[in-house]
Amino acid sequence: MSRSIRRLGIALVCLMIALLVNITFIQVFQGDNYRNRADNKRVLLEEYVRERGPILVDSEPIARSVDTGGELKYERVYPDGPMYVSATGFYSILYGATGLERTENDVLSGSSDLFFFDRIDQLISGRQPKGGAVTTTLNPAAQEVAWQGIKGTIGAVVAIEPATGRILALVQSPSFDPNRLSTHDTEAMRIYYNDLLNDPAEPMLNRPLVATNPPGSTFKVVTAAAALESGRFTPSSLVPGPAEYDLPGSTKTLRNWTGADCGPKGMVTLIEALAQSCNTAFAWMGNELGADALRAQAERFGFDQAFEVPLRASTSEFPANPDEPLTAYSAIGQYDVRATTLQMAMVAAGVGNGGIVMNPYLVQEIRGPDLTILKTFAPTEYGRALTPEHATQLQDMMVAVVDRGTATTLQGIMDANGNPVRVGAKTGTAQTSPDRPPVAWMIAMAPANNPTVAVAVMIQSPGEAEVSGNAIAGPVARRVLEAILQQ
């Protein structure tokens, strides 16, 4: 019998090996497969049990995890939720994560490879990983005034540090409260989320980065840049600026918003054309330069390119093959030109920064759970949009817009010491569709020849064409400029 017992022993060993192989298969090889299934509650619980790292503005949290003592141990709290939501996004048990909460999830949840040594420690001690911190480039003062300025409207503000591309302000309106999407009360969350979805004002749309609108006359800065770069024009070149411009190849005419000639005998210098926002002059210029030259210039500012800041911004577009009339419209930022608020801030910043466009970015540094700095992000160059000398010329042209042109609300800005600051700007208004109110724009940068801030304000608002850029978007831009300049 001993022999058959031994044989049986071998058979039992085989059974045990089958168990071990199968368990290895489940726990190791199939593990990811099971973990990624939508109905796997553990993954979510796991997310909430970790102390998620904070998102910081100047070492003040704009998103942090608070210990609730519940089954979902931590709750995400946003002290100034609606004001910062364009940057933070939300972190929801039902609806996932958006914004920095999504793009920086590795760091915030503590699973980033940057935390290698912390993870070894966790492996040994069996403790839950603690998330790292993400410090943003945002400036709290600029953010605050931008938010106060557009609250209650439909609009967006983006401010950039021209020399680096650091995003100083990123605000949307209408906004929403991310706290109500990270609450553990899922029923209330569901109701709130559906309300937001059904709101025609689209409060969850990240307007500064994602919404694209015709940039209107602010695009004339791009056209002017193309004109200077062509080598055929200087700021003092005389160009035709009649009250009406007969669009070539069409029976239509394009009118100035004033209804008058832009200069004596319908001729105007380029600098005055920009200062007065002369439609006919820039429409003529567009056809002189051609659609390809305009597109090339726009692309040097960042059009036709999707930026990740690291939130993904929409691509700003210059139309593909416009005929002559449409090229004329495009040159003044109408028709099918589409730009994000971020893009127009980049145009102002690129001009201000001696013609060099910097890649915009929102994350300054990454800190470990113990707040030691693990990674600092350095500015990167997107490319050169203008030669330095053309950039200086265009800066002066933009200053003329403020000093004697359409951007009067930006006159008389002082720095912290009470000294006057030269401000360059451009106003704009664009009709998106007949049933929607026009969009008022203001792009600006200051101090003009060596700017520390560039800003773009976009507000959807009914109002007098061209005046509204100055009257509606202007005050917001002014407050943002002052917030930075007076620090």
């Binding site: 058959s4 199968n22 299934r37």
Partner: protein, 473 residues
Amino acid sequence: MTMTEPEFRQTVRLTQPTRRGLELFLIACGWSLGVLGTLQVGWTTGEPLGQRFWITAAVVGALAVVAHLVVRWRIPYADPFLLPVATTLTIIGLVMIYRLDVAAAQSAERRNQIASTPDVYAQLTWYAIATLLFFGVVFLIRDHRRLQRYTYTCGLLGILLLILPLLPIIGSTVNGATLWVRLGSFTFQPGEAAKILLTIFFAGYLVMTRDSLAVVRTKFLGIGLPRARDLGPILVAWAVSLGVLIFQKDLGTSLLFFGLFVTMLFIATQRRVWLGLGAALFTFGAIGSYFAFSHVRVRVQIWIDPFAYAQDAGYQIVQGLYGFANGGLFGTGLGNGYPQLVPFANTDFIVAALGEELGLTGLFAIILLYGVLIERGLRTAVAVRDPFGQLLAAGLSITMALQVFIIIGGVTRLIPLTGLTTPFLSYGGSSLVANWIIVGLLMVMSHRARQPVAVQHTDLDALTQIVPITRAK
């Protein structure tokens, strides 16, 4: 009296080392593992351990040490690994049951409900009772061969116990399976005791009939077949197993008994044909019951695609798989996982709970512990000198092996899930007590097998002389 050196050496060879010191050391290791594990649960869950923890640790330690002392006193030559492995597995079970108690209490607290009674103290009580019964086996069954006299009594009692849950009033159906007996507030699973009684019956019966069962007369297609009249026992075992399946809806027990009988039949007769016949009958029964009984069909369908039933019938197994996946290679650590998300995490699915928190490495260790237990059992079977003892020890080891394979294989989706307890680990008194009785029986037998011949009743003078060729009493 003086002793010359060669004579002395002879003495040493005769008194085999008992290795009881090793046993005590291993028990201490298992106990420390439990203490550390519980401390970790306290640390990670933030649940204060308090005085109760140290009292529990002391009680467990005392039970294990007393068991060791009893072994040292009564059966000093018993296998030194059986007791520590069984103790360690019981302790791992206690830690996990405690950990699940904590999860239940914290979840009740969060919902402002009153926490249910913790299971760990009930299990601890059962462990004490199991240890007492283990002592009972050690003291009362000095010679396992006496059990052979009760072959038919055991068989009858075993069948009776199996039928017990089907009786009105006392029988009780839990989660679809009728395998419980309820007397007042006291419930137990008679199937666990039946398991031992039937193993004794099979051993006794097969020892008596193995010669005739081993006879091969008919040849069919070159395969030697047993005589038709010898097919009786295997057909009866098959019918009883099917009966359990049909009337009690208990796939696990049914599979366990049939597998046990067929393998014991094979050991007794050393005829592979019985394995073939058993496999054929099993296949026939399995296919038949798949088509005949919806509860079998459901189990198989869940096995093939559990995710299709993730929200209803397959919920438990799917949650178990998620638990395993969450554990990965090293586990989440005790107290860091979500084993409470699996229904019945502390009974049938305790392996999923352990897999989640201790990981693949922890499960490997646990399965290897079972491997050691089974190997020591089979080693005892080989070492025992009488055929009844050999069959009994082998049968008891196989019971444990099959039970481990059926339940762990079911939980990990290697085979369709059938409800069985996980020996020593699962919460539940009947199972714990029954398995400790098995350990007691194996240890008594291994003591008798390893006991040096005639050492008990000889003095030193006798030892130095030629050993009389007699068998130990």
